[in-house]
């Protein structure tokens, strides 16, 4: 098991190093123009400078703050409404077309509206992240609750469970698997929402940094910003995986 994990890690590092090496190689051979794609060594140097001068931290913190707020608010609404819809088919049927309509709206279209409504500060970005996270959480919670085994439900009811106990002992744990698997997606979406929001109008954040760099054709800055964004998502996602493994520990032996 752990031997396999080491092997996988080794391969992961190999793939990363190989890609970067190829990239660097192609640029130094002038097969790729550094003006358009920059080069890994420059990007690394830029990130190092940002970290050394500390100029990146305020931006990163703002973006994380927006993403986290978006994730929490979006997840709270998504899970609550997912439960409500799964438990009362009438509500689900009435609101079904509206949910689909809202979900079909491209979020980029909403961004200027949110800027207008919530201003240039963090809340317009939080709102954008919420619209992305909400639907992912909503659909997976709905699915997770509907998916709960009827035998488990019947058994717990026969053992004397009230409606609330049924939710707590069967429906929530059964939905958790789905909620957690979508938490990884949601996390990425929350970051996307925050960054896109910043990109379209703000004075701080990773999206702002990237957009500034783009404005001056500074591709190195754009790639450096994207790299930091990706790294942060990977780190936070690993945290979620650990939490998931603990919460779903009853499942580990099944796999």
């Amino acid at each position: 098991m752990s031997e396999r994990r080491t092997t996988i890690l080794a391969w992961q590092i190999l793939v990363g190093v190989a890609t970067l090496a190829l990239w660097q190689f192609l640029v130094s051979l002038k097969l790729l123009d550094p003006f358009f794609v920059s080069r890994p060594s420059d990007i690394a140097r830029r990130i190092a400078t940002w970290i050394a001068t500390g100029s990146m931290w305020p931006h990163l913190i703002v973006t994380l703050e927006e993403a986290l707020l978006g994730l929490v608010v979006g997840a709270a609404f998504g899970i609550a409404l997912g439960f409500l819809f799964a438990r009362s088919p009438l509500v689900a049927r009435v609101f079904d077309p509206y949910i689909k309509m809202l979900n079909a709206i491209p979020r980029v279209v909403l961004a200027p509206l949110f800027l207008l409504w919530f201003g240039l500060g963090i809340w317009s970005k939080v709102a954008l992240a919420v619209t992305l996270v909400f639907f992912v959480m909503f659909f997976s919670t709905y699915q997770g609750v509907r998916d709960a085994s009827q035998v488990l439900i019947d058994n717990v009811r026969m053992l004397g469970a009230t409606e609330r106990q049924l939710v707590r002992h069967v429906l929530v744990p059964s939905a958790l698997t789905w909620i957690f698997s979508s938490l990884h997606t949601s996390l990425g979406f929350a970051m996307v929402g925050a960054v896109v929001g910043e990109y379209l109008g703000s004075t701080r954040g990773l999206g702002y940094v990237i957009s500034q760099a783009e404005g001056t054709f500074d591709t190195t800055g754009v790639f450096a910003g994207m790299t930091i964004l990706g790294a942060v998502v990977v780190i936070v996602s690993a945290g979620v995986t650990r939490l998931e493994r603990w919460l779903l520990r009853w499942k580990t032996d099944e796999r």
């Binding site: 035998v151 058994n155 053992l159 004397g160 099944e254």
Partner: protein, 289 residues
């Protein structure tokens, strides 16, 4: 005293094509308190429907269900139900699963877990208290389920082919353990315990009285081996009771030997003569569909 009474019970199901399917028709059955009644019938004959109606999980389309002398309204609170499929909560460990009924009733965690532990000792699973269901064998899961159902001490045990998914030897063992629990509701280990300490102390707070059991199976051998009475249902749709046979074999029964005794074989022949016709009918109708 009568523990459960079905009075001309019918149950219909809506079909996707708009029609109705009648699963059981005109079932009248009274089960005495403390009796072990087995219901046999060909597959698809509405046995599970009958149990679900008795459990209050399905309301009857017509007819009445009475439990403990009162009309049944909603779930049957005097009954527990052992399902054919695994119904243990996979995210709770064995101890929590056994204690579940007590926890739901508001018994304190410490108390509930202590009582669960003594039940686990009784079914020989004391060492597995902290395991999750996925880590147990099929037979062990059935024992946990029995403990989970027995611990809440309801008068009526509804059992829907509980052992049908097990291999034949495990199944015979489970049948023996079930009878041991039923015949000796005041305690004692049904599985000899390995640790001395467990054997000595903490007798389970045993149920107050012998349970009434309504046991559904498609296996006539199992029905005769376990029950006081075997009820035969006709092939579906619209299953009815076609025969009732008293099983007069002495108790306690040794299930290892019982199946080859003359009394058992005679009884088997008599009931099989009735059941065979229904099985043939059901095979014919399913062959046509």
């Amino acid at each position: 005293m009568i523990a459960l009474e079905l009075d001309r019970v019918c149950r219909d199901f809506a079909m996707p094509d708009g029609g109705t399917y009648r699963a059981i028709e005109d079932i009248s059955l009274a089960v005495d308190a403390g009796a072990f009644v087995a219901i046999v019938g060909p597959s698809g004959c509405g046995k599970s429907t009958l149990l679900n109606v008795a459990a209050g999980l399905l309301p009857p389309t017509s007819g009445r269900v009475r439990a403990g002398g009162a009309d049944l309204d909603g779930l049957n609170r005097r009954a527990t139900y052992m399902f054919q499929q695994d119904a243990l909560l996979p995210w709770k460990n064995v101890r929590e699963n056994v204690a579940l009924g007590l926890t739901l009733a508001g018994v304190s965690r410490t108390d509930a877990h202590a009582r669960a532990d003594s039940w686990l000792a009784r079914v020989g699973l004391a060492e597995f208290a902290a395991h999750y269901p996925a880590q147990l064998s099929g037979g062990m899961r059935k024992r946990v389920t029995m403990a989970q159902n027995w611990i809440i001490d309801r008068g009526l045990m509804l059992m829907d082919e509980p052992f049908s998914a097990l291999d034949v030897h495990t199944r015979h063992r489970m049948e023996t353990e079930l009878l041991a629990l039923w015949e000796n509701p005041w305690g004692g280990h049904i599985v000899p315990s390995s640790s001395k300490e467990e054997r000595a102390g903490r007798a389970p707070t045993g149920p107050s009285d012998k349970k009434t059991v309504l046991f559904v199976t498609h296996d006539l051998e199992e029905a005769i081996a376990l029950a006081d009475e075997v009820v035969v249902l006709s092939a579906g749709p619209a299953s009815r009771i076609v025969a009732r046979h008293a099983v007069t074999l002495d108790r306690p029964r040794d299930l290892m030997e019982l199946r080859t005794t003359t009394a058992f074989v005679d009884l088997y022949r008599t009931i099989w003569a009735v059941l065979r016709e229904e099985v043939v009918k059901s095979q014919r109708s399913s062959g046509r569909v």
